[in-house]
């Protein structure tokens, strides 16, 4: 077998170069602008006011956090399995993972609202509401502002540490070419995966599930995890397609690699469907009021329409669309489905978060409908733009390919049988 010489990668255009500052300026500026307009709209104009803005902000934050967490999973699972195929494209995930410190800053508005005892986002954070509601009162040992803050400090400490460790060591290897770095990262990937699973699960409980403090679902962390991996696979595919359109990574990332990224996307489209259904079916079957309330507001009325959109457009249609080998080996169709899944994941989070807004959560008499407002789009797009700017900021100086990764030759020679 004739392995291509890894040296070809050296000739590849593998730096963002002037593109980095350009993305940073435009996307960063756009993001800030959108968020500021959203904030002003939130305070002055919009129905729901500040509470609405914070809910939209939480949707957007859950969205960009899920992309970074999906990137963490990609890095960890490939170290865990000692995968060779992804060596030439793993740096994309490492750079995306490197945005964790930026995400910690973007989390501050949510944290501040909780610490100020503001009940318009997390009703349990407001002492007045919590003392009247027996269930929230009982859960106050876990759901209280101080412990919430402590937990998020722990989550971000772990995530930032992991992002520094895996991006940092990989970048060090670019200089030294020391294969021992790879062995060390592989060794620590097992423990890191454990930490990843625990932090992601509890973070999803805190950020999304506790928006309705009465409701609980033990599978919820897995649900958010499935969406996260979809989000990152889609994000990574789109990033690499756009980079190749700018003439970068053309020799390092081949259609074989895209095919495998597409396979993971396809697999997790199904995994998401499986998990979403598992969560629904048990609650539907048991039919216990304390569990069904959450689904009740989400499958009746216009939110029910969104739920049906999720069933078909988040699962059935992309499952059929991505199944064929040809769909995954054609960059036009692959990036179409990646774009599609990224949007669907965003709608999924919107469907999870927004029905809680305006006290229409669990146990309320009236079923709210979808009241889409400009502030929702502004907050979500604003955060996503800032996230893209953050990725460009992390990746502005470094090589987009792990140039001295020991399995680079294997990765370049990789073919799907």
């Amino acid at each position: 077998m004739n392995h291509p010489n890894p040296e070809v990668v050296l000739n590849d255009d593998r730096h963002l170069g002037p593109l980095g500052p350009k993305i940073l300026r435009t996307m960063g500026g756009l993001g800030l602008l959108l968020l500021i307009v959203g904030l002003i709209l939130g305070i002055t104009g919009t129905e729901g006011g500040m509470s609405r803005f914070l809910f939209a902000y939480t949707t957007g934050f859950a969205f960009i956090l899920s992309i970074a967490l999906g990137a963490m999973f990609f890095v960890l699972v490939n170290h865990l399995t000692r995968a060779g195929w992804c060596a030439s494209s793993r740096r994309i995930a490492e750079i995306t993972l490197g945005t964790m410190p930026i995400l910690a800053v973007l989390f501050l508005p949510i944290l501040v609202s909780v610490l100020m005892g503001y009940g318009g986002l997390f009703s349990w954070a407001d002492h007045g509401i919590a003392s009247k509601d027996h269930l929230i009162h009982l859960k106050a040992g876990y759901l209280n502002p101080v412990f919430f803050a402590i937990r998020w400090v722990i989550y971000f400490a772990i995530w930032i540490q992991l992002s520094k460790y895996y991006l940092g060591n990989s970048l060090r290897q670019d200089d030294s070419g020391d294969p021992a770095l790879t062995s060390r990262m592989q060794k620590w990937s097992a423990l890191s995966t454990l930490l990843f699973a625990l932090t992601l699960t509890f973070a999803s409980f805190d950020l999304l599930m506790s928006l309705d403090p009465h409701w609980f679902s033990t599978i919820f962390g897995v649900y958010y995890f499935a969406g996260s991996v979809i989000a990152f696979q889609a994000f990574g595919i789109l990033a690499m397609v756009l980079l190749q359109r700018k003439g970068k990574l053309e020799k390092s990332v081949s259609i074989e690699h895209f095919h495998d990224w597409g396979k993971l996307l396809f697999a997790f489209v199904f995994f998401w469907g499986y998990i979403a259904y598992s969560q629904f079916m048990l609650i539907w079957y048991a039919n216990i009021p304390e569990e069904t309330g959450w689904f009740h507001v989400r499958i009746t009325g216009s939110w029910g329409g969104v739920a049906l959109i999720l069933v078909f457009a988040h699962f059935v249609i992309p499952f059929a669309g991505l199944m064929s080998r040809h769909a995954k080996r054609n960059l036009a169709s692959l990036s179409f489905w990646a774009m599609w899944m990224l949007i669907m994941h965003c709608i999924d989070l919107y469907w999870v978060v927004m029905p809680n807004q305006g006290g229409h959560g669990h146990g309320s008499e009236s079923i709210p409908g979808v009241h889409f407002q400009a502030v929702d789009l502004l907050a979500i797009l604003g955060l996503f733009s800032l996230f893209v700017a953050g990725v460009a900021y992390v990746g502005r100086h470094c090589s987009l390919v792990a140039i001295k990764e020991p399995r680079l030759a294997e990765s370049l020679a990789f073919e799907n049988v």
Partner: protein, 410 residues
Amino acid sequence: MQASANTDHGEASAPLAGILAEFDGPGALKKAATRVRDAGFTRWDCYSPFPVHGIDPAMGVRPTILPWIILGMGLTGLTIATVLQWWTNGVDYPFLISGKPLFGLPANIPIMFELTILLSAFGAFFGSLILNDLPRFYRPIFSSKRFRKVTDNGFFIGIDANDPQFDPNKIKTLFADMGTMGVEEFYDHDNRAALPRPIFRVGMILFLLGLIPLAFAVKSRHSTSSQPRWHFWRDMDFQPVVRAQRASAFFPDGRALRPQVEGTLAREQADKDPHLNQGKVNGKLVTTFPKAVLPLSMEMMVRGRDRFNTYCAPCHGRDGKGKGLVATRASSLGEGTWVPPSNLTDARIAKMPVGEIYQTIRYGVRNMPKYGPQIEVRDRWAIVAYIRALQRSQNASIKDVPEADRGKLK
């Protein structure tokens, strides 16, 4: 280069099955395959120790139809599961399970999912076996000793003798032209060791043993027997329960009903007011109400009517004559097992001591279940009082009506 018909076995009688040629590595194999393909041969194959990338297009092999077989099998499984569940529970034998729809998609998806997966997996496994012409224990090409290298470091092309263009000399020239490491004819010795003997024997024995339970099942279905059935698994069929007129196998003294344990009291033995609680004093049913504790009052009668209409009237009827809704419906069904409820206003019950009515409410009688757990002591006596009032009202004379009101009845 040796292009000899090197028949190691020395059996010239065996028919020629084909010609094989060895090549020096996967690159040479691919190049040679391209030329054999272009020469128009159809019955031939490449043999290598590991899968060679790009061999399919080099050989001109069309993409496999296996994915379509798997898709078809998967959709078949999906259809079977859907129709099966819809037919069995929705149509043929509608059976309501915890208030769910007879055919509700959420409950049926797991079966649909599993059967889709199962048939897809069957399609993939058996489909690839069939498409690869497996399992097969003998091929003529195995008779070549040189060919044994194929599992180690040999790369071969074999053209079968049944190819329409088969011409040994032409093929040998073609192979020689490609730079083969050696060409060889191979013969069909027809020693198709169908199945290794031991495997065949063990398989047959297992098959025959497997028929035994089946034979017994068939026999049982077509015959009757007075013997108890076989218990492969004991389940809960054998329990140390009490059987009438039999000694208990569980307790050493053989008694199933246990005597009172020394130093203990049954609840009723500690009763400080048996008149109130039992309706029985010193073994005799009481004939008076426990007026000392529960003085008769209008309030008690109203309470008694309320409780009577709740618990007793469904069977005995609001007038106590045994024509309640349940009783009426049960009689109309004409089931032989139904014992009609008593007429509470007839003479037999009117003469009954109040203690007996009280005990009937508390412990039940014949088919009437006990109501002790549902109706508390005060309410039981209230019901007894109300029943007495019903008996009076149903057997009343004009003298029972106050003189002032008698005019209204006419």
